[in-house]
């Protein structure tokens, strides 16, 4: 079975979550979404699935932020790729993200910039060959399978 990178997307804004998920699914990734940090933490702490990447907004309602989620996930799955998104580049959480050497993408950004940041982070974490397999070759297979199932 072809390997597809599994990405957990966390954003409290429903529209952005849907746009990110749709875009990455079209890129050939397998996406799981969480609408807030609490739901995301539940997915992370269940440690059910081996994740390849976390894409998360830094600032979300409640006590938990994207950096805390990334840190928790790295504790359980140290090799996981992380991309944090922020509209507040001067915030304390942002400084923490940089100190932890998480890849950061500042809003506003173009679709191509997000795609490139995801691909580059996966390349670094998975290695070039595996990252390429996890994206490019898989999309037609995944679509064919879904088409057959319907």
């Amino acid at each position: 079975m072809e390997r597809r990178a599994t990405i957990l997307i966390v954003d409290d804004e429903a529209t952005l979550r849907a746009v990110f998920s749709d875009m990455m699914t079209r890129q050939g990734y397998r996406c799981i979404t969480a609408a807030n940090a609490v739901d995301a933490l539940q997915i992370i702490e269940s440690n059910l699935l081996e994740l390849d990447m976390l894409v998360t907004d830094i600032k979300m309602p409640g006590a938990l932020d994207g950096v805390a989620l990334a840190s928790k996930l790295r504790e359980l799955q140290p090799g996981v790729a992380v991309l944090v998104i922020t509209g507040y580049p001067e915030s304390a959480a942002m400084k923490e993200a940089k100190a932890r050497r998480y890849r950061v993408l500042e809003k506003p950004f173009r679709q191509a910039e997000l795609e490139e940041a995801v691909a580059e982070e996966l390349r670094q974490r998975l290695g070039a060959d595996e990252a390429r397999r996890a994206v490019a070759s898989v999309t037609p297979i995944a679509q064919a399978r879904k088409g057959k199932a319907r």
């Binding site: 390997r3 397998r30 269940s46 059910l48």
Partner: protein, 133 residues
């Protein structure tokens, strides 16, 4: 999985239950969920499933293995899930396919397909034996 499959997910944690439902449905499978023995029996009464995916550790009197036996009697392939890696040897002895957390989605799909194929083969052999006896 290479083709659509009807799957019953048995898991008491609502977050994990929905996560499994999401990844299996996303692959084109027909998924129902149950959280305890009562719901499992109701689901098995109501319809047939190709496979059941069961968390070994369920609260209450009935554990996952007991429910797996009930599902198997109805011709369902069984996949057990556990987070306790010390249980691997014990699960090996059950004869069921099992997954240790965390696992890749691809592995979940592969193991479920293998279990379903094994169960189909067993059912074919049993039918053939019944016809000849």
């Amino acid at each position: 999985m290479s083709q659509s499959c009807s799957v019953l997910v048995v898991e008491d944690d609502p977050g994990v239950r929905e996560l499994l439902r999401h990844v299996l449905t996303d692959e084109g499978n027909d998924v129902e969920v149950a959280q305890n023995g009562e719901e499992v029996r109701a689901a098995l009464e109501a319809r047939a499933f190709n496979a059941v995916i069961i968390d070994v550790r369920l609260p209450g009197a009935e554990n996952g293995i007991a429910l797996a036996r009930q599902a198997e009697e109805r011709g369902c392939a069984v996949v057990l899930i556990t987070g306790d890696h010390n249980h691997a040897e014990a699960l090996e002895r059950t004869g069921y396919k099992y997954l240790l957390k965390p696992f890749r989605v691809e592995r979940l799909l592969e193991v479920t397909e293998e279990a379903t194929e094994m169960m189909s083969a067993r059912c074919r052999i049993r039918r053939r034996r019944d016809r000849t006896s």
